[in-house]
C-alpha cells in the first residue's frame, strides 16, 4: 500500500526558481555536450591528417552530432514558454531572410567583380550573428 502523505504545495516563486534551476542545468549539460562534440570533430579532422582516420568515421561523428543537435533543439523548444518560442521563431525568420538575400547578393557582387567569391563559413557566421541579434532585440526591447 502506498503512502498518501500530502505533497507540500510550493509557492509560484519556488516553482519558478526550481524550473529555472532545472533549465540552466539542462542548458549547461547540453552546452558541455556540444563543446565535447565540436572538440571531437575538430580533433577527428586533425587526426585524419596525422593518423589517416577514415573519412567515413568523421562523417559518422558529424552525422551523429547533427542528430543530437536536432534532438536538443526540439527538446529545448518544448521546454521554453510561448514568448521565448516566439522570439526564437522571429529570430530564425529574420536570419533566414538575411541568408536568402545576402548569399545571392554576394554572388552578384562577385559576378560583376566587385567582391571575392562567396565564403560559406562567413555567411554561416553572419547568419548566426543576425539570428542572435534578432533574438536578443526581441527579448529585451
Amino acid at each position: 500500500m502506498t503512502s498518501s502523505k500530502p505533497i507540500p504545495e510550493l509557492s509560484g516563486e519556488a516553482r519558478l526558481a526550481a524550473k529555472r534551476r532545472s533549465f540552466w542545468r539542462y542548458f549547461a549539460a547540453a552546452t558541455l555536450l556540444a563543446g565535447l562534440g565540436g572538440g571531437l570533430l575538430g580533433s577527428g579532422v586533425a587526426l585524419r591528417e596525422l593518423a589517416g582516420l577514415s573519412a567515413w568515421a568523421i562523417a559518422a561523428v558529424g552525422a551523429a552530432s547533427i542528430v543530437i543537435w536536432v534532438w536538443f533543439s526540439r527538446n529545448y523548444l518544448r521546454r521554453i514558454d510561448e514568448i521565448d518560442l516566439q522570439d526564437n521563431l522571429w529570430a530564425s525568420l529574420v536570419a533566414l531572410y538575411f541568408f536568402v538575400a545576402a548569399a545571392p547578393f554576394w554572388l552578384l557582387l562577385h559576378e560583376v567583380a566587385l567582391a571575392p567569391a562567396p565564403q560559406l563559413m562567413a555567411l554561416w557566421w553572419a547568419t548566426l550573428a543576425v539570428a542572435v541579434l534578432a533574438y536578443f532585440y526581441r527579448k529585451y526591447r
Binding site: L10, S11, G12, A14, R15, L16, K19, E82, I83, D84
Partner: protein, 64 residues
Amino acid sequence: MNNRLKVLRAERNWSQAELAGRLDVSRQAVNAIETGKHDPSLPLAFRIARLFGLSIEEIFDDQQ
C-alpha cells in the same frame, strides 16, 4: 490588447515571479503580457482565467 493582469496580481499581493510560477511561464512572459507587448495564446489565456476564477473576457479586452 488591454488586460487587467497587473491589477489582479496586485490584489493578491503576488509578484510577477509568483504569477509566472503558477502559470508555468517565465517572469518575462508575465511582464510582456502585463505591458501589452505580447498577447497570450488561447491555452495560456485559459490558464490565466482559471487561476483567477474569471472568464477570459473579464481579464482581456480587445477594444483598442
